[in-house]
């Protein structure tokens, strides 16, 4: 589903964020991306969402070689990758409904279908009935769930999340994590970049550790932990 083959990324300012990353994420898999700040987690996510292109190496996402995709096809590509941010990036002057509907509006879906799908997505994150509220009227945890609803409303096969629980306490973080688990159960491939090692250990899922622009190690959970799931 996602395949990095010796991918390097150097930014225009000369900083080399990734030197040679090789990693695979299988369809339907949910993995964590960990590592210290500056290890390259955000860059990996940016490359998957095609917000940046690799400098060297090959990166295939959803069967597309991202280095060669023409610019005019980038919008269609991005519709197939949902993105969740730590600061959720909601439009604070628009009600919840409009925020969640945005990916469908840009994809030219009919208003009736948009209405149906937005409600379904809000139901999924437990926020049905709050469509007309403004994001700032919601709690932090609810805002993050609106962000997740926006990321999954167009049913992308891949979901990436950058520190989705960074601003949440452990209780709320676990709730958000359970939400990701449920989405994963219906077949969405998920990559979550996080600092929250406790959460990673609790989940028993694969952890890809980045250090200095390389994959430092992949912690495969113990068989006993997997059995617990």
């Amino acid at each position: 589903m996602i395949s990095f083959e010796r991918v390097a990324k150097r930014y225009p300012n000369g900083r080399e964020a990734l030197s040679a990353v090789t990693l695979q994420v299988a369809p339907g898999e949910m993995v964590f991306l960990t590592g210290r700040s500056g290890a390259g987690k955000s860059t990996v996510l940016k490359l998957i969402a095609l917000l940046e292109r690799p400098t060297r190496g090959q990166l295939i996402v959803n069967g597309e070689n991202t280095a060669k995709l023409p610019a005019r096809r980038i919008p269609a590509f991005r519709r197939r990758v949902g993105v969740v941010f730590q600061d959720h990036r909601l439009l604070t002057d628009r009600p919840v409904f409009d925020n969640v509907a945005l990916p469908l509006i840009v994809a030219d879906i009919s208003m009736r279908e948009i209405d149906r799908r937005v409600r379904a997505a809000l139901d999924q994150v437990g926020l049905l009935g709050k469509e007309r509220m403004l994001p700032l009227e919601l709690s932090v945890g609810e805002q993050q769930r609106v962000g997740i609803a926006r990321a999954v409303v167009s049913r992308p096969p891949i979901l990436i999340a950058d520190e989705p629980t960074g601003n949440l306490d452990h209780q709320l973080a676990s709730e958000v994590m359970n939400l990701f688990r449920r989405l994963n159960e219906v077949g969405v491939t998920i990559v979550i970049a996080t600092h929250d090692l406790l959460l990673v250990r609790e989940s028993g899922l694969r952890e890809i550790v980045l250090a200095e622009g390389m994959v430092a190690g992949a912690e495969v959970p113990l068989p006993s932990m997997q059995a617990e799931r």
């Binding site: 955000s42 940016k46 917000l51 919008p75 991005r78 993105v83 941010f85 600061d87 439009l91 840009v106």
Partner: protein
């Protein structure tokens, strides 16, 4: 495109248009100021055009003041004079030809000058016969009057040709000059309108940076992101065109009473012509086009720079 596709295309544009209108309506003061600046820039050439048209209409009567006097040699016989007059009458652009014989001229001079006694002292009549020509109202441009002068001057019997009321001819030339100036002002002010719209749209793009980033992130195409800004620019243009027309209309109405008094003082019933439907169409078309161009330039320049990113 299928019927459904067409309907969705239509609704997409309707959506963009409505949201742009809503946005302008939500900031009435800022919108008003932008529209006003654009409207004034459009109203100036439109008003100048009105001014030139009105001055032309008002001075149309002056064409009657233009005349040419062809002074003949003293010894030209009467039949030849009549012959010349007949030929001149048939010349294009001639409204009226009158022959004033030496005797008639002398008589007139005697009556009007008060030098009757002095004239009696002369042994012969010193005044030459004159053919007086009035050009047609539609043929009083500098070039046409000059053509007529040359025609008359070409006869060997003609001693000299004098143009009467040539100030009217010069005045018409000034009006022509003014019309050229108007075109130049129109071009410059049009560029001004584009700059005003472009700057407004640029600010709008800066204000909505977060929204643009998110829209691009979730797969919005450049066309989708650009659309509301193009609509906004075009709307500014439409409103400005309409306002420009109203400004010129208001100016005409407010000047009407003073103009009527002035005209009456000169014994004329001249009325100012306000901007007509053609002017309204012109103002609207110019506003719309310039607004669209300004928005397009700003969008093309500034939208490409905004790309989504993390943290």
């Amino acid at each position: 495109m299928s019927a459904f596709g067409l309907a969705s295309w239509g609704s997409r544009h309707a959506h963009a248009l409505l949201s742009s209108m809503g946005r302008l309506a939500r900031h009435p003061l800022a919108t008003l100021l932008t529209v006003l600046v654009m409207a004034l820039a459009l109203a100036l050439p439109l008003g100048l055009n009105r001014l030139v048209s009105n001055v032309r209409a008002a001075t149309g009567d002056f064409s009657g003041a233009i005349g040419l006097s062809a002074y003949l040699h003293l010894e030209v016989p009467e039949e030849r004079i009549q012959q010349l007059a007949r030929s001149t009458r048939e010349h294009a652009g001639v409204a009226h030809v009158e022959v004033i014989s030496s005797a008639a001229a002398l008589e007139q001079f005697r009556k009007e000058s008060g030098f009757g006694a002095a004239l009696d002292a002369l042994s012969s009549n010193p005044l030459p016969p004159v053919i007086s020509v009035t050009p047609a109202a539609g043929a009083s441009s500098p070039a046409e009057v000059e053509t007529l002068r040359r025609y008359l001057a070409a006869w060997p019997e003609v001693e000299s040709v004098q143009i009467d009321g040539d100030w009217v001819v010069r005045f018409n030339a000034i009006l022509d000059e003014l019309r050229d100036l108007l075109l130049l002002a129109g071009v410059l002010l049009g560029a001004g309108v584009i700059a005003v719209v472009g700057n407004t749209i640029r600010l709008e793009i800066d204000n909505r940076r977060a929204e643009i980033e998110v829209t691009k992130l979730v797969g919005g195409t450049n066309a989708f992101v650009r659309r509301p800004f193009l609509y906004a620019g075009t709307l500014y243009g439409v409103l400005a065109g309409l306002a420009a027309w109203l400004i010129v209309l208001a100016a005409t109405l407010s000047l009407q009473p003073a103009t009527t008094r002035l005209a009456l003082a000169y014994g004329s019933h001249f009325m100012l012509n306000g901007p007509d439907v053609r002017d309204a169409g012109l103002a609207l078309a110019a506003g719309t086009l310039l607004g669209w161009i300004g928005a397009w330039l700003a969008a093309a320049r500034h939208l490409a720079r905004i790309e989504p990113g993390f943290s």
